[in-house]
């Protein structure tokens, strides 16, 4: 599976994703500059964490209007996958590719810590092969990760099973205490209707090696790579 890791001015998880995909997963991967719009050679686009354009104005706002992001709907329509983590999730929401928005953490402070995630939806290409209700451990690192959507949108998200992760305790209870940023209903990650665009605040690339404290982040990639093979490399371009 061929991955593209997008670099916006101010992105900083680009190298980490590149390393995990290339060195840990041994998959083909290349960097994509934010002005590039030719995504033909790629199967999955990664929008990494960071502070694109300093996150000045709103997190992800300026990057959400960049050429590469404007090329994503086409890419997705042709069968491509998109994974946005942290700033990448903020960008996808800002660009309207995922519903809702990410607001400043309720505690008004930045938070870098380990979190547990309750897997709600095990049917997306990113989570296929996992158990619904499985608890994954991945760290967060953000100041604006409080997910918000209006009641109608939330209802629609639930109806279509678009909520993928909720913050939970280590034992899998979705409680207020387990919510690190005040997210609506503990939401930590969602997908688009087709399930091919995943946005999540946690950092799967920081949970991809035992030395880094865990490998749960790899599960998303394994699932994604697996689903592609299962589907018989079904990317249509």
């Amino acid at each position: 599976m061929r991955f593209g890791v997008v670099i916006f001015p101010g992105t900083w998880s680009d190298c980490d994703f590149h390393y995990v995909i290339g060195e840990v997963l041994r998959q083909p991967v290349k960097y994509i500059w934010h002005r590039d719009t030719d995504l033909r050679e790629l199967d999955c686009m990664i929008l990494p964490g960071g502070f694109s354009y300093g996150d000045y104005l709103r997190a992800g706002a300026i990057a959400g209007r960049s050429p590469v992001v404007e090329a994503l709907p086409d890419f997705v329509a042709r069968g491509g996958f998109v994974l946005g983590s942290c700033n990448g999730f903020q960008i996808l929401c800002e660009a309207g590719m995922l519903p809702g928005a990410l607001l400043r953490n309720e505690c008004l402070q930045y938070r870098c810590q380990s979190t547990s995630l309750f897997l709600e939806n095990a049917e997306t290409p990113f989570t296929r092969g996992l158990r619904p209700g499985q608890v994954l451990k991945m760290p967060i690192s953000h100041g604006e990760g409080k997910y918000y959507a209006d009641p109608d949108t939330l209802r629609a998200l639930k109806a279509r099973n678009q909520i993928v992760f909720r913050y939970c305790t280590e034992s899998g209870d979705v409680t207020k205490e387990a919510n690190p940023n005040g997210s609506l209903e503990n939401i930590g990650g969602i997908v688009n209707e087709a399930g091919t665009v995943l946005g999540l605040m946690p950092h799967p690339e920081r949970a991809a090696e035992t030395a880094m404290g865990g490998t749960d982040g790899l599960l998303l990639f394994h699932s994604l790579i697996g689903s592609l093979v299962e589907d018989g490399s079904a990317l249509k371009r």
Partner: protein, 88 residues
Amino acid sequence: MRARVFVRLKRGILDPQGTAVKRALEGLGYREVQDLRVGRVLEMELDATQPDQARGRLEEMCRRLLANPVTEEFTVEIVEDGGRPRLA
């Protein structure tokens, strides 16, 4: 021409920052503050001469970039050179 764009959280969306500021003011003895919300204001100098046209452009900027339609609402004010603001 000078203009101001106000961007604020929609009513109904919690504003923890506003709450924190209000509480801090209370702590200092300013109990008259009943409700407080924090927003952004962008003050600009525009190269434009037609207020109405400028306003149209500003509203477009807001829709395209300056405000997030999911969470925010905006108002645009034009301050004609040296003049008083005209509310939207």
